[in-house]
């Protein structure tokens, strides 16, 4: 089954454009980074940090915080921008991305306030999230465990091992959100290792599952607010997104999956494209 490109999303608002500009500034500061995968994540993370997750930037280890794991750790630039905006660390750190004297590396690290676990090696986030959710459930804690996975990441068997376990333990305090941008490093997920029928897979593995346009802020707010979708079941949200969203020339363009160097003129082009985005 060929992947469906999502219907036309609503136009990006100024906040979504601002976050994208910040992402480009981080890319510029580090001289490198995963761009396309960060851009597909922006609205998912924005909604989570604006209106879903409970946290306190002044007390990153507040016991009652919701646990958030960016399992697709290579999308970390988008997460760093949100965490900084919310006050977890100083703004100067953003432009020291991937530098020897900075705290922000190319993948999340729990040394950074607001980061729970090291991710980046794919297929690790959901098993860890299951352990955290089991721990919360058995002590009657109210917080939730939310993890964002990449679609390519779902090639990993450990994701499905953990999914079976989450269903077995009836973890309705756990949500797996998938950034389904339909592109992985080499090509489309359809060509490399087809995930379809994707939502049906999550359902079959015991998750109450919904699909949503991952760039529609209002729709995301509504879906995330409805988690857990069913008592006694973990929730899955398949977010249909576009890799490189908001930069016309980078959308679905695998050259922008990862950049190990970037020119000043490219930064200018990226900024212009964000200004022009609909």
């Amino acid at each position: 089954m060929k992947n469906d490109i999502p219907k036309q999303s609503p136009a990006l608002d100024e906040r979504s454009k601002h976050l994208r500009r910040q992402i480009v500034r981080v890319l510029e500061g580090g001289g490198r980074g995963h761009l396309g995968t960060s851009l597909s994540l922006v609205e998912i993370l924005r909604v989570l940090f604006d209106s879903v997750l409970r946290y306190d930037p002044k007390r990153p280890k507040w016991p009652e915080r919701d646990r958030f794991i960016l399992s697709k750790g290579h999308g970390c630039i988008a997460l760093y921008v949100l965490l900084q905006e919310k006050g977890f660390f100083a703004k100067e750190e953003l432009v020291k991305f991937c530098r020897f004297d900075g705290i922000l590396g190319g993948h999340p690290d729990p040394k950074v306030p607001g980061i729970e676990v090291s991710t980046g090696s794919l297929g690790h986030g959901l098993p860890i999230a299951v352990g955290m959710a089991v721990a919360a459930m058995r002590r009657g804690a109210k917080h939730r465990v939310v993890t964002v996975l990449g679609d390519g990441e779902c090639d990993e068997g450990s994701v499905w091992e953990a999914a079976m376990s989450a269903a077995k333990h009836r973890l309705d305090n756990l949500a797996a959100i998938v950034d389904y941008n339909k592109q992985q490093s080499y090509g489309s997920t359809y060509e490399v290792l087809d995930l379809e029928p994707f939502a049906a897979k999550w359902e079959a593995f015991g998750f109450a599952t919904r699909e949503v346009d991952g760039h529609d802020v209002h729709a995301l707010e509504q879906v995330f607010a409805a988690v857990p979708f069913a008592a006694g079941k973990p929730s899955a949200v398949i977010c249909h997104t576009v890799k490189g969203k908001g930069v016309a020339f980078a959308e679905n363009n695998l050259k922008w999956h990862h950049k190990s160097s970037i020119k000043e003129s490219e930064i200018e082009d990226l900024m212009r494209a964000i200004d022009d985005a609909g």
Binding site: V117, P127, I128, G131, A135, S158, E161, S165
Partner: protein
């Protein structure tokens, strides 16, 4: 040894609510009382070791002390990356209990022989590796694993191994045990090879070769100080292990001796599993003999190193 280890997990869990047990798909009835009495801390997660280790890490991140158990090969090489990233990188209180370390599963063939578990785990920062010699030593180890900071790999022997240790020398994780005095050769052991060394020392004594024995139940962190102290008193050192000769106890001893720069230098040999996959079945003892990990091999190696016939 396995029974003692799991009995201890049960006893320790009764006294400490932080303790959780996770197994993969262990034998029916394993830790039955644990499951009945503390079901909220007992998990059997299925044949899914990558997930199992990640889940253990998640529980440990929330303050748990997690004992995770399955066959050695499956809890080390099968999920090596989860052990490295989820457990060791985060320096979590996860205890990996590996059934059948070394050649225990001889009849089951090379898929089940944990020939390099010690070597691969030794390369991971923050990991502690323990291989005790018998059930009595296991009893001394386990209570110390509760409040020990960071991950531990506990390598289990066959079970019903003869008791060769005593509590005369206090057991501490990270410390070697000086089991026997002797001025000619130092035999360094871990796990069940302590018994091999004891037999060899006994066999060598009538011929005038005196062996010291240093038992290293903890291979990492390595008790360098005690090793170098004892090595300094002898002419020859032999490391004996039920693990590949690449990267395990013998390598740790060789590295220590080479870097210490003894003058005159020490004669040194490693006795262990050669760099091959086993091509025979039979019993653990059969394969130990087949690979030359027995008292006879230690005796001839010691004599050769000392220039005796």
């Amino acid at each position: 040894m396995r029974e003692t280890c799991l009995d201890q997990v049960y006893e320790l869990a009764k006294a400490d609510p932080r303790i959780t047990f996770i197994g993969s798909d262990l034998g029916v009835g394993t830790l039955r009382k644990f499951k009945e009495e503390m079901p909220e801390r007992f998990y059997m997660e299925g044949i899914s070791e990558a997930h199992l280790v990640g889940m253990a890490a998640g529980l440990a991140l929330e303050g748990g002390i997690v004992y995770a158990n399955t066959i050695s090969t499956f809890i080390t090489r099968r999920c090596f990356e989860q052990v490295a990233v989820d457990v060791c990188l985060h320096n979590l209180n996860v205890r990996l209990i590996g059934n059948g370390g070394g050649l225990v599963y001889a009849p089951l063939g090379p898929t089940h022989l944990a020939i390099e578990d010690i070597s691969i785990l030794r390369a991971l920062p923050n990991m502690t590796i323990v291989a005790v010699a018998d059930a009595e030593e296991m009893k001394r180890l386990m209570p110390q694993t509760v409040d020990y900071a960071g991950p531990i790999y506990i390598r289990l022997g066959k079970g019903y191994d003869p008791i060769v240790t005593s509590d005369a020398v206090p057991f501490r994780i990270g410390k070697g045990l000086h089991m026997r005095e002797g001025g000619d050769v130092l035999l360094v052991t871990t796990g069940i090879t302590l018994k091999v060394a004891q037999e060899a020392a006994k066999a060598l004594a009538p011929g005038g070769v005196e062996c010291a024995i240093l038992h290293m139940p903890t291979i990492k962190p390595f008790d360098l100080e005690l090793l170098l102290d004892l090595a300094g008193r002898v002419r020859a050192v032999i490391a004996i292990e039920e693990n590949t000769i690449l990267g395990g106890l013998g390598s740790a001893v060789a590295e220590a001796i080479a870097e210490a720069g003894f003058s005159p230098g020490k004669k040194f040999r490693r006795i262990g599993i050669p760099d091959v996959f086993s091509d025979r079945y039979g019993s653990q003892a059969n394969l130990m003999d087949y690979h030359g990990i027995n008292a006879g091999a230690v005796v001839s190696t010691a004599r050769a190193l000392l220039g005796h016939r």
